[in-house]
Symmetry: C2
Subunit: 347 residues, 2 copies
C-alpha cells in the first residue's frame, strides 16, 4: 500500500506572476501573513515588496516602486496584508491605482471586491489591467451532510489567529510527501489559495454553507491518502469561532495539530480576551470534533518560536513535549522534533 | 426602575399583505415552520394556504388557489416552507409563476434569490409584480468586537433545528412585556423577520461576519432592557453548528433557554446523528457561551409537546422539571410552568 512519492497539489491558476508584494502602511506583523506566506512558500513568484510611508513590517525582499518592479519583470501587485474586516482603506487605493498605471495587474484576497473601488476600476479599464479577487468561494456550495468520507484528514487548529496554522499545514503536507505519502494541502484562506493555486476561502462563505464548503474541499479519497487542511481562526475567538467550528465539523479530521505562539497571552486585536492554554485548545477541539469524527485525536502541537533563539526554542519544544505528553515542534525549524510530530500525526 | 409596559418591536416593513401561504409539495412538517409561524404569530396577515399535489402538511387555514386568494384580498404569496439548502425546485416555479399571473407579489425567505429564477423574473416583469427576498443581510456588517454590551440578553438554543426556538423567543418576549419589562424580540431567520418586520438572517451572513451580525442585532441598551433573541441551528448540528456558535458568541446572552422536542432522537434530515440530551445541550451552551459572557446561565427548558395530549404534556413538564432541576415549560401551552420559566429567566 505504498503511495505516490510526491505531494499532490491542485493546479495553479493563471495568476499573473511574478508578484510585487504590497504591504500598505501596516504596522502589525500579524496582519502581513499573506506577504510572509508568499515569500516563504512561493519565493519563485515574489520579486520585491512595496510599502507605504508609516509601514513597520517588511518581508526582507527588495523594496521596489511599482514602476521598478514592472521593469524588473513583475506582472502583478499582490495585496500582502489584511486588516480586521478585510477592507481596503482609501489611502491604499491611490497606491493601487499607481501600480495599475505602472502596468501591473492587482491580485487581492480581501473581502471587498477590487472592482467595487471606483477609482481602481476606472484605472484598470483605462490601462487594460486585470483586478483579480481570490477570496471568492464557489457559487454553488452544498449544505454539509455529515456523512463520513474515506481517506485520512488532518486539520491545523489554534489558540488564536495568525500564529502558524497555514505554515504548519504546508510543512506537514510537504513532510508527508517526503515520506512517500500521497497528501494534498487544502487551502482555506487567501494566502493558502495564492500558494496552492486552489482551495475555498472559508471565511468568505455564507455561514449556512461553511461546513458544506469544508466537506467539498476534502472529498472522499483513497484510504491511504491524507488531506492536510489549513485551519482558520480559533474556537476561542470572539469573532471567528463559528468559522472554526464549521471547518472542524465539515473537515471531519482524524488528527488535529494545535498551533500556538508561546508568549502570546491575549487574542490578537482583542486584548480583553485571554488566550486559552494549549491543553484547553486540544480538549475543546477533540470534544467538538468528535461530533462528526468520533476517532479524532491530537497529533501534537506546533509552536511558533520565531521570537526565540535556536537554543531557547529547542529547550522550549522539549519541555513542552514533556509537559503535554505529545510531540511538540516548530515546523519552520524542522529537526527531530518535527519528524516526531510527523510520525505522531501519521499514527 | 420599572420599565415600559409594552413589547417594543422594530417597524414592520412595507411587505404586501395579506398573505397566501405557499406550502409547495412539502411532506415534512419541520420544513413548514415559516407557514406555521406566520399562522400563529401574524394571523391577521394570513388569508389562506396553497399546497401542490403531494403535499402532506397544512396550516389549517382555508385552501385557496392564487386566483381565489387574490379575489379574497391577498396581495402576496409567501413561500412558507424551506428545504435543506434553501433551494426552490423547478416544479415550484410553475406554481409561483401562476401566482404572479393571478396578481400576487412573491415573498421569499429562501437562500436563492427570486430574481435568479428566469421564468419567474419574466412573469413578474410582464405582470408588474414584485419579487421580495427577506433573507438578505445588511450590506456592511462589522467583525465582532467581543466588547460586553449593556442591557440584558436571552438566547433560545436547541438540541436541533426546527423544534421551537423561534416560538419560545416570541412567547418569552411577549410574556416579558406582559410583566411590564421593556423587551425586543430579535429575529435571526426568515420567518422571524416576516413576523417581527426586522432582524438579520444569520444563516445568510458571510461566515466571517456572523458574530458581528449578532452584535449588531443586539446593541447596547438600558440596563433593565431585554433582547430576546431567536436562536438558530444547534451546536451539535453537523451542518449548522458554526452559525449557532457565532450567534452564541456574538449575542453574549445572560440567559439561554434550551429548546427540545421530546421523542426526537435523531437530527432532522441527518438520521445518522443522535440528538444530544437536554443536559448536554445546556452544558455545551454554557461552556462555550462563557467565552463572551462569563455570567451566562440557563433560564430553563422549553419543550415542544405538540404531539402529546394535555395531561401527558403537563406530566412530562413536571417530571422533566424535577429531573433537570429547572423550569420546564411549553410556551405554546402556557400555564403555571411557563410563568415559572419566565420568572427563572428574569432571575
Amino acid at each position: 500500500m505504498q503511495a505516490a512519492s510526491v505531494v499532490h497539489q491542485p493546479e495553479t491558476p493563471a495568476l499573473p506572476a511574478p508578484y510585487l508584494l504590497f504591504l500598505g502602511d501596516t504596522v502589525e506583523p500579524g496582519y502581513a501573513k499573506t506577504a510572509f506566506g508568499l515569500r516563504d512558500w512561493a519565493p519563485e513568484r515574489c520579486i520585491g515588496e512595496y510599502a507605504m510611508p508609516g509601514a513597520r513590517v517588511s518581508t526582507g525582499l527588495p523594496a521596489m516602486s511599482p514602476s521598478q518592479a514592472h521593469a524588473a519583470g513583475a506582472r502583478a501587485l499582490v495585496i500582502g496584508v489584511a486588516n480586521a474586516g478585510g477592507v481596503i482603506p482609501d489611502h491604499w487605493v491611490t497606491a493601487l491605482v499607481g501600480a495599475v498605471e505602472a502596468g501591473l495587474d492587482i491580485v487581492s484576497g480581501m473581502h471587498v471586491r477590487l472592482a467595487e473601488l471606483p477609482a481602481l476600476q476606472r484605472a484598470a479599464t483605462l490601462h487594460g489591467r486585470r483586478l483579480i479577487d481570490v477570496r471568492r468561494p464557489p457559487d454553488r456550495l452544498p449544505i454539509a451532510s455529515g456523512r463520513k468520507r474515506s481517506g485520512q484528514r488532518l486539520l491545523t487548529v489554534g489558540t488564536d489567529c495568525a500564529l502558524g496554522k497555514k505554515y504548519t499545514a504546508l510543512a506537514l503536507a510537504r513532510a508527508f510527501g517526503a515520506r512517500g505519502i500521497d497528501a494534498d494541502f487544502r487551502a482555506t484562506g487567501q494566502t493558502g489559495i495564492l500558494i496552492a493555486g486552489g482551495g475555498i476561502p472559508m471565511d468568505a462563505v455564507i455561514a449556512d454553507f461553511a461546513a458544506g464548503a469544508a466537506e467539498l474541499l476534502t472529498p472522499d479519497a483513497a484510504a491511504s491518502h491524507w488531506d492536510v487542511i489549513e485551519g482558520q481562526g480559533s474556537l476561542f475567538h470572539p469573532a471567528y469561532a463559528g468559522v472554526s467550528m464549521a471547518l472542524l465539523h465539515g473537515s471531519q479530521p482524524d488528527v488535529v495539530v494545535v498551533c500556538h505562539q508561546p508568549g502570546r497571552d491575549r487574542v490578537l486585536g482583542h486584548p480583553h480576551y485571554a488566550l486559552p492554554s494549549i491543553e484547553e485548545a486540544i480538549a475543546l477541539n477533540l470534544q467538538l470534533g468528535r461530533r462528526t469524527n468520533p476517532l479524532i485525536r491530537c497529533g501534537g502541537v506546533s509552536l511558533n518560536t520565531a521570537h526565540l533563539d535556536e537554543a531557547a526554542a529547542r529547550r522550549l519544544l522539549a519541555s513542552e513535549s514533556d509537559r503535554l505528553g505529545c510531540a511538540v515542534a516548530d515546523p519552520i525549524r524542522g529537526g527531530d522534533e518535527f519528524e516526531a510530530l510527523v510520525t505522531q500525526c501519521l499514527g
